[in-house]
Structures are given as C-alpha cells and as structure tokens.
C-alpha cells in the first residue's frame, strides 16, 4: 500500500473553553474519494480549516503531507502544497468572467504587472478540457446557474494544481442530473490521482462513489469505514450516537376537516397544477429534490409570490394572498429554509425576534407598544418551546442552531397559525434539538394545527409525517403513507 497523501495525528483544536477537535488521527490516500461526515458542529469545518492553513492546530498536533510535517501551515503554504478547499458558498467573483475566476492566480503576482489574459484563458480552457466540460470563458459568473458555478470553483482549485480537493456540501443545491455530472468529474479527478474529500452533514449521493467514510462526532473521530461496509442507517447512528427512532407515527386522518385546500395552483417556471388537501391536525410531508418547486410553492402559500392560476382555500373559504400579512391573517405561517438570512434578525435581540410578527397585537394605551407585554409574550414562548437562552436581550446569533430554530418557531407560533409550513426546519440543527423539534411538531398537530413539512431528508418525513407528497419538476409526482410504503420505496420514488 502506498503512503497517504495527507496524514493527521493527534490533531486538537481548542477555541476558548471549547474543544472543537480532540486528538484526530486521519489520513487520505492519493486519488481517493473520501467522505467526511458528521452533524453540524462536530468539527468538520474546523478540520478543513486546519488543513487549509486558516487555523493553527494546538501544540502536539501533526499534519503531514506525503509524510513531511508541514506545520505551521498558512493558507498560501497549503495552496502551494496542493490543498484546495471549495467552500459551500464557492467563493467566486460574480463580477468577473469564467476565465478570470479560474485563472485568478495569474493576477495575484504582485501589483504592477501586466495581467496575463492569454495565460488566464489558456489555463481556464485547459482545465475545463481536463474535466471534459464546456463553458463560455467570457461569461460572467453571476450569469451562470449554481451547478456551473460549482464547476468553475472546481476548475479554480484544479488550476492551482490541487492534489487534494475538499468539497464542502457540494450537492446541497444540485439536481440529480447535476450531481451525476459532478460525480463523473470526480471520477476523472480520481483517475488523475487527485484526492477528493466530500464534507457533509448528511448522507447523500456522494457516498455512492466514496471508498471510505470517516465519521466525526463532538470533535472526535468515531471511525473510518470502507464505504461498502456501512449503510446509511448505520452511518446516521454513528454520526448522532443514537439509535434513530424509526417508529412510524402516521395516523389516518382522512376523516378530519380539510384545513387547506390547494387546487390547480400554477406559477410559470416554478410549479404547475399543484392540488392537495391538508387536514386539521395532520402533518403532511412535502419532499423532492432541491429545485423541485417545493419552496416556490410554499412561498405562494405564504403570500410572498402570486400564483398565475389555481385556488387556495382555508377552512373551505377561498383566500387571495397579496402579501404574507394576508397569509398570517388567514392563519398561515411559514418557517423559511434559510434561517440565517430570512428567518432571523441575527444581530437583534431574542425577545424582539420572537414578537416581530405580532407587534401589531401588542399595542397598549395610546397605540404604544407595551414593554411588559412584549417581554411577557417572548418569555411565554421561550418557556413553552423550552428555548435555552441567556436572556431575552441577548442577540440571537449567540444561540446554538437548534435554539435559533426554536426562536423562529416561537415567532410563528406567536401568530397562532392554523397552518404551519416548515421548510427544512432541521437543517443545521443537532440531533437532540432535531428530536425536540419533531416533538414540538407532533404536539402542535395534536392541538389541531395543520403542518406542511418540507424536507429533502426522506427519513425525516417518513418518521414524522402522516402522509408524504413528493414533487418533481414543479408537479406533485406522488403520495405515500409511511408504513404502507417502505422508506426504501419512497426513497426510490423520489430519486427515480
């Protein structure tokens, strides 16, 4: 067996009082496809940043590339050694062309040199050719779809002579066809002897072509496994340290009163001819690949966009939703998939975030807000949802992902919704809080709230919902009832 390209031994990293990484031993072979998985906060990003030279590890750690100790590492040195990271945000320059993005290294040599456009184009052309991929070199990156931007980011890594490529959550926003294309590219890289490490918080398509899987949990390495040895369920329990509760909770609610009736809803370019019924007390799952039109549909149900055709009825009465204010008046609330940008005002206080959607209802004398009512309302929800906070006045960004998500839930529950749309509510939430959120969801359903749970994690909808719809290409492609259909069958349907 040859020597590993990258080898870590006893790598630890402490941030203040928190031990983010605890004596990690890890290696990556040349030309290997390796998956690094773990829940959010398990230390994956810290590990990448140490190898990329962004964070120095604690004393006693060893990072070796081709058996040479390379510490201390700087970003420039890591680049020179062939370590490239493709961050989830891709870190591209949207205002520059494809050629300039790929060949950016050509203009980083000093300030008073001529920019070598010819060299830049040549590098870009050659790199794209290596991947057997065709992109217009002069196109501006901001004009490309996300999947092609990702190709540009990969090319930039390759152009910088990458020998080890970290890809952070590469498939999060790709369709199946695009994932296949990405996997084909990875196969080429592998053939060239370039090691690729996929970093992910969930298990997805990339496991298919990985040779080994390393699982991190709470800053420690749980183990490295040959990909053939482990199945998804096993990895999931390794990631979380829990045997996942796979009990099915689905109830038959066919007799319950219809709460939300959607008939023939269409919006050009987003979804078409969508019809379904959500009953009181029902948890209805809505799954499908990213880009299947789930979020777009939810935004129309929340009044953020106007459908071109079709009707929405709440409690049997047809409603016209001109704004999300109308939606809230109709009893519909929507928890966004993008908690950090759309769900919360991160820098503002926890209390103000919770009461934001109900400010109009907290008026006291003279139409002024009552401070006491504001605090009481916020405190009540903190209490009811069991949110762990240092104080109502603290900014939301000081909370953990799970508690942040509970703050968003509190904001929407404060509007006393009849229908709650949850868009990927457990993204970026650790496993204990995930279970907590499922419990809240079931509790709300028991109180008669109708819940539309949007998620691309099949096991999540399978274990939480009474009924599951799945969307493909903007249409409802099928319906399944957990228990009557197996999880594997549902998965096969969705990924078909």
């Amino acid at each position: 067996m040859n020597a590993p390209f990258l080898r870590l031994s006893g790598v630890s990293k402490r941030f203040g009082g928190v031990l983010a990484l605890d004596r990690i031993d890890w290696d990556v072979m040349p030309g290997e496809v390796h998956c690094l998985v773990g829940e959010n906060g398990c230390g994956k990003s810290t590990l990448i940043k140490i190898v990329a030279g962004v964070h120095p590890p604690d004393p006693g750690s060893v990072v070796a590339i081709e058996e040479h100790d390379v510490l201390p590492l700087t970003p420039a040195r890591a680049h020179a050694l062939g370590v490239q990271v493709i961050f989830q945000d891709l870190s591209l320059f949207p205002n520059l062309s494809v050629a300039e993005n790929v060949g950016i290294a050509q203009v980083l040599t000093g300030l008073a040199r001529p920019a070598r456009f010819a060299a830049m184009r040549e590098v870009a052309r050659a790199t794209l050719q290596r991947l057997a991929f065709d992109l217009p070199l002069d196109a501006r990156v901001s004009d490309l779809p996300v999947a092609e931007r990702q190709i540009v980011a990969i090319c930039r890594g390759l152009a910088a002579r990458a020998r080890l490529l970290f890809m952070d959550e590469p498939t999060a926003s790709l369709t199946r066809a695009e994932v296949n294309r990405l996997l084909a590219i990875v196969a080429r890289l592998k053939a060239e002897g370039i090691a690729v490490v996929f970093v992910s918080h969930r298990l997805d398509e990339v496991v298919e072509i990985a040779e080994r899987v390393t699982v991190l949990r709470d800053g420690r390495k749980v183990g490295t496994y040959a990909a053939a040895e482990v199945d998804e369920r096993r990895i999931a329990s390794l990631m979380t340290g829990l045997e996942l509760n796979s009990g099915i909770v689905a109830r038959d609610l066919a007799g319950a009163a219809p709460l939300l009736e959607v008939r023939g809803l269409s919006r050009d370019g987003e979804y078409s001819d969508v019809s379904f019924t959500l009953r009181a007390g029902e948890v209805l799952g809505l799954t499908g690949l990213l880009g299947a039109g789930r979020t777009e549909l939810a935004l129309s149900l929340f009044g953020m966009t106007r459908p071109d055709a079709g009707t929405i009825a709440v409690d049997g009465r047809t409603v016209t939703l001109r704004s999300n204010h109308d939606a809230i008046c109709a009893g519909i609330a929507y928890l966004s998939e993008d908690r950090l940008n759309l769900g919360l005002n991160l820098r503002q206080s926890i209390g103000d975030n919770i009461v934001l959607a109900v400010l109009d209802r907290l008026r006291g004398a003279l139409g002024l807000l009552s401070g006491a009512q504001r605090r009481a309302t916020a405190a009540r929800w903190v209490d009811r949802l069991n949110i762990r906070i240092p104080g109502l006045d603290h900014p939301v960004h000081t909370l953990s992902g799970g508690n942040q998500q509970r703050v968003v839930l509190a904001k929407w529950l404060a509007t006393s919704p009849k229908i709650l749309i949850l868009d990927s509510p457990t993204v970026g939430v650790d496993i204990r809080n995930k279970q907590g959120i499922y419990e809240i969801v079931r509790g709300l359903a028991a109180e008669g709230v109708g819940i539309l749970l949007i998620s691309d994690e099949i096991e999540e909808v399978f274990a939480t919902c009474d009924r599951v719809l799945h969307m493909r290409g903007g249409r409802i492609a099928g319906e399944a009832i957990p228990g009557r259909v197996s999880e594997a069958a549902l998965r096969a349907q969705v990924y078909a």
């Binding site: 820098r347 959607a357 907290l362 139409g367 807000l369 401070g371």
Partner: protein, 354 residues
C-alpha cells in the same frame, strides 16, 4: 461586511419598566457596564467639561450652558432627521436641502401674506398657515423620497443625492440664489424666547428627541425600523411591510427637517438655499459618534444627544479659547476618528484578552 459584522456593538437592550425616552435610567445603567457604549461618551463629556472648566475661566458660567442650549437645537434636529434613515440602514443626504426649501417657502409665504400694518392676530394666522404649508411640503418630499427608496431599491445614498440636487436646484432656481428675509418680527420673537431660563428652540429639541425616542422604542414602527436596518429580507419574511416602514422613515426624517426649518427661520430671520450646508456631514459624524451603526440596525436617541452635547461643548470651549470655526470643525473630525480608533482598539484588546 464581514470584518464590520464582527465589531458591531451589542444591540440596544430593553429592560425594566419603560419610561421616557429609551426606557429611562435602567438601560442606561446597563450600558454603562459596556465598554465603548454610552458610558464612554458620557465619560468623554464629563472629562471635557472638567478640562474646559479648569482651563477656560469663563467656561463654568451659566452663559456657556445657555449658549450651548441656543446652538444645539438646529444641528440636533437635523441629526435626528439623519438618525432614523441611518438606523434603517440608509442615509438622507437631502436633509439640509429639505429644511432650506421649507424655510424658503415659509419665509416667502409669511412675507407675501402679511398685509402692511397687520394686527397681531392676523400675523399669527399667517404664520400658522405658512408653517402648515411648510409641513405639507416636507410631507410630500418625505413621501416621494421614501417611495423612491422603498419601491426602486436604489441605494438611499443615490436616491437622496438625487433629491438633494433636485431640491437645491429648485430652491436656487426660484430664488435666483438670493436670501428671503423680512419676516414678521413676532415670529423671531417667539422663536428666540427664553422660558424659565431655557431657550424655546432647546425645548423644541427636547420634545423632538422625546418623540423620536418614543417612536423608535415604543411603537411597532420603531421596532420595525431597527429590524429593517439589520436584515431587511428577514423582516419582510416576518410579514412586516418593509416598504411602508421605509416610506415612514423618510417621512419622519423630512418632518424633522421641517421642525429644523422653523428653528432656522427664527434664528436667521431669513431663509436661503445656502444656509447650514456644512451641517450635512456633521449630522452623520454626530450620529456615528453617538453609537449609530453606519450599516444600520442600531442606534439610540440618547447616544446621539450625548454626542451632540460633546460636539457643542467642544465648540463652546474652543470659542472661548478663541479658536476659529475651522479649527472647531477639524477638532470634531479628529474626535470622531479618535473615538472610532479607541473602539477598534478596545475590541482587539477584548478579543486578545480572556
């Protein structure tokens, strides 16, 4: 943005029963414990008073206090007019142009409507009518500016750069760059009166500051202004009509300009498109000195008032020391840079320390 985000000040806190502007003493006390917060400003103010009191013989007299109270109101009101857009994540470069145009309109109306030898009652009526017209003008300007910011999505710097040019242009075009004077003397008499030792303009400033504090802290609109300033999309998703909030912000800003115009008219006894132009950037300096986040989302009326007091004490002190107005402006700029540098330094020390 990243670097900036990491050194944002802690958000404004609200604790304890709310009373008066900015919830009275409790949050002030809470902030006193925070480095670089209001405590630093209050300390700076106290230190300046002590230093000037010791170094300048006439400083510690009632006269200084009164001159501060006379000079602060116009800048104070214009700064309040800048504060609201700044908190909402914008800027209003048209405040001076708005105030001047309102003042010109009111001066012109007062002059042309007052008949020769009119009785006191008639003059009062004319003054009120002219003020209503000025208010109406400012409301229209505010609504238009707000609508442009809210509905086109153009950066407020550019929108208000445009409206400023437009307003100044109209003012200069109509007056041919001249001064309109000849106001009824009763107007200035009321405007410059002193009640119980406090000048009327200062009372107006206090009232406006209280109103702004109330608006920002105790209304749904106010909370929304802070929210819009820190993350407009998240606020929109929370079913807040962010466009209406933005229109409201520029409307309120414009109305404050109207109040400033009334005071300027009383003080100069005339109006011109050229007055107070140098105040524009000073209002931004004062707001930032007072702890307003230039990116929006945070800021207090209290902090702004403290910053204005600091600037005014500096001005009065340096006047007594015989320094020129230009030196005063330079000192103001240096104070702002110094305070920002101190904040950055404090942040770095804190990050390095335990």
């Amino acid at each position: 943005m990243h670097a900036a985000a990491s050194r944002r000040r802690p958000p404004v806190t609200e604790r304890a029963p709310v009373r008066g502007i900015d919830a009275g003493l409790a949050p002030l006390l809470a902030r006193l414990r925070m480095p670089g917060g209001l405590a630093g400003l209050a300390g700076l103010l106290a230190a300046l008073v002590v230093v000037f009191g010791a170094a300048v013989p006439d400083f510690a007299s009632g006269g200084t206090l009164q001159s501060v109270m006379f000079q602060m109101p116009e800048l104070g009101l214009l700064s309040l007019a800048m504060l609201l857009p700044l908190i909402s994540g914008g800027l209003n470069l048209a405040i001076i142009a708005t105030a001047n145009q309102a003042a010109l309109l009111m001066a012109w109306l007062m002059r042309s409507w007052t008949p020769a030898g009119a009785s006191g009652g008639t003059v009062a009526l004319v003054i009120v009518a002219a003020m209503l017209a000025g208010l109406l003008l400012c409301v229209v300007i505010g609504l238009l500016t707000g609508a442009l910011v809210a509905y086109t999505g153009v950066h407020p710097i550019l929108v208000t750069l445009g409206t400023r040019s437009l307003l100044d242009g109209v003012s200069i075009f109509l007056t041919r760059g001249t001064i309109i004077s000849g106001l009824p003397h009763q107007y200035a008499a009321v405007g410059n009166a002193v009640v119980l030792g406090v000048p009327v303009p200062f009372l107006v400033l206090i009232a406006a500051a209280l109103a702004c504090g109330l608006l920002l802290r105790r209304t749904a609109f106010g909370v929304a202004v802070f929210m819009v300033g820190s993350n407009i999309e998240a606020t929109r998703y929370s079913a807040i009509d962010v466009r209406r909030v933005l229109v409201g912000v520029y409307l309120a800003s414009s109305v404050l300009c109207f109040v400033a115009a009334c005071l300027m008219l009383a003080r100069f006894n005339s109006a011109s498109a050229e007055y107070a132009q140098s105040y524009l950037l000073i209002t931004i300096l004062a707001a930032v000195l007072g702890g307003v986040d230039p990116f929006g989302g945070f800021g207090t009326v209290w902090g702004l008032m403290l910053a204005l007091a600091i600037l005014q004490v500096l001005a009065s002190g340096s006047n007594l020391l015989g320094m020129s107005d230009y030196l005063k402006l330079a000192i103001w700029g240096l104070v702002l840079i110094g305070v920002m540098a101190a904040q950055t330094l404090a942040q770095r020390m804190k990050r390095r320390g335990p």
